[in-house]
Amino acid sequence: MKIKKPAFNLKKNAHLNYVLFGAVLCLVPLLIELGLLRNSYLTLVGSVIIYSVAAIGLNLLLGWSGLISLGTAGFMGLAAYISAYVTVNLKLPFEVAVLLALSIPLAVGILVGLVSLKIEGLYLAIATLSVSEILRKSFEEFGDITNGFSGKTAGYPKLLGFFQLDKYGTYLLLVVVLVGVMILIHNMINGQMGRALNAMRGSEAAAQAMGVHLLKYRLVAFALATSLAALSGILYIHFIKYTYPPTWTLGMSLNILSAIIIGGVRNIYGTILGVFVVFAVPDLFLKQIPYFGAMPGFAYIINGILIIVVIMYYPYGLIYLGNDMKKLWGKVKAKVKP
């Protein structure tokens, strides 16, 4: 097997890299104020950040542990509605909302995980699919809390009860959360936990013989994925400020899953690249393509094809594209010279 080196050198000063990455993201509002970027880009980049949080969580499950969850959208939606309800209807502080919106989906997730993970990985996909179906139905039916199809609104977060964030402030909060998540997950996957997950995916027998408790680690991975999906939902409702049931369908879960595959399984920057390809590229570029751009579902087709092509021919994801290009260029140059 070839050793694939990521485009960014993760090992050296990984944490500093993440912080720098966050700093670059912080430039977006500045560029908008200077008139160099369009106003709508703030929402676009903000959305990429929000979905990245959920996608990094799902990557922990899908990439590192080799388990499929189709419930990402359901858990995101659940957290979004809870946070909106707690801040708007119950008028409780933002921090309380965050706590509830994290712990309720987590509790549901752990129950589902306990039931399905006992058996085989395959059951998790089906169990989460049914749970997200139940959740989607609940968003439509519990009108008192969710406002049904008219949708639910929420405001920008007010930190510690007095520090009201505006649009830019909330954006900065998104960046801080993303960088924090990147660093925490980086530490986890490069230590004992990451090795245990890798072992579990690579060889269940070896993992067990080395003392890895399969159910425990599967459950931990799924719980982390669920919490990050919930966190992403919280960020969504307080940045986009509006939600309605059709957002949280299987389509959203599939998009997040495809982002991981396309960008790069088991790679944090790859996940973000994938989210950019899946959620921002359609808005930025695909819609400009004549005829096809206007076609409903065009982006969905492209993502579907990309998933399959990447799995079949480029299983480590697009994040390695730059590096492989460089290598190829090196080979071409070497051939041309003599």
Binding site: I185, G191, A206, M210
Partner: protein, 270 residues
């Protein structure tokens, strides 16, 4: 459980172990005992139930009947059947696999560190926050892994991914992984399979050095008779899941039942 179930100086004792799959008795009333620091061979023709016996000892399979007494790291005697599969290693019993089970994407060093899984004491949160304690622990175990790899002579490759390495190296990595937990007993499932002659001769040396350096017993299943006869202190032969004979390599070679099992009845009679 009293210590009387296992004699002083013994590390493992199987008592009337049986397991059947759909009516077929894969292991049938098998008993044997392994002394501390002994290299013990389990032999038998293909399909004799050797690997099944291994899987029963390490709790990958649940035996239908019988007891497996084991003296753990702290000298306490326990019945392995009372423990789930992932707890076996904590007692000081660790195994390798017939078809090398390593993680291709991980480096050799990381693969060996998986063997230290149970030695990590810091919590997940501490790992995520990379506290000083978690960092020190990681460094200490990493150094230990490097030591083990140096001992086996493959430290120069430790940063390469396991996938794509030659088979002989992979077998050594698996061995290194078992040594990380300071075992009382190592179970080797066909350690010489896929190795060439020179590698096999080396393996015999390595097994003996491991026993001497780590002070552990070794239980191995092997088809390569030269290796078995060369390295083992004691051998147990089985056929069709049933006990045939136990004794020193010489005794086993001379045993009529064993010869019959290997060569077929008629030839042995002549």
């Amino acid at each position: 459980m009293s210590n009387l179930d296992l004699q002083e100086g013994s590390v493992l004792r199987l008592e009337e172990l049986s397991i059947s799959f759909g009516g077929l008795k894969a292991v049938d009333n098998l008993s044997f005992e392994i002394k501390e620091k002994e290299i013990f061979g389990l032999i038998g023709p293909n399909g004799a139930g050797k690997t099944t016996a291994f899987n029963c000892i390490t709790q990958f399979y649940r035996p239908n009947h019988g007891k497996i007494y084991f003296r753990d790291k702290h000298g306490k005697v326990t019945n392995l059947i009372d423990h789930p599969v992932h707890e076996i290693i904590k007692l000081g019993l660790v195994r390798t696999f017939q078809n090398v089970e390593l993680i291709r994407e991980l480096s050799i060093l990381d693969n060996v560190l998986i063997g230290a899984h149970i030695d990590f004491k810091s919590s997940l949160l501490a790992q995520a926050l990379k506290t000083k304690k978690a960092k020190d622990e990681e460094t200490a175990l990493r150094n230990e892994a490097i030591e083990v790899l140096t001992f086996l002579g493959i430290a120069d490759r430790m940063l390469l991914p396991a996938g794509g390495q030659p088979y002989g190296i992979l077998k050594k990595v698996e061995l290194a992984r078992t040594l990380m937990c300071h075992p009382k007993l190592i179970i080797l499932d066909e350690p010489a399979a896929g190795l060439n002659d020179i590698e096999t001769v080396n393996l015999a040396k390595v097994i003996r050095t491991i026993r001497d350096k780590y002070g552990c017993a070794v239980l191995l299943v092997e088809h390569d008779m030269r290796l078995v006869m060369d390295v083992c202190d004691k051998i147990c032969a089985i056929n069709f899941g049933k006990f045939l004979a136990v004794g020193s390599p010489k005794e086993i070679q001379r045993n009529k039942d064993v010869q019959a099992a290997y060569l077929g009845e008629t030839e042995a009679d002549q």
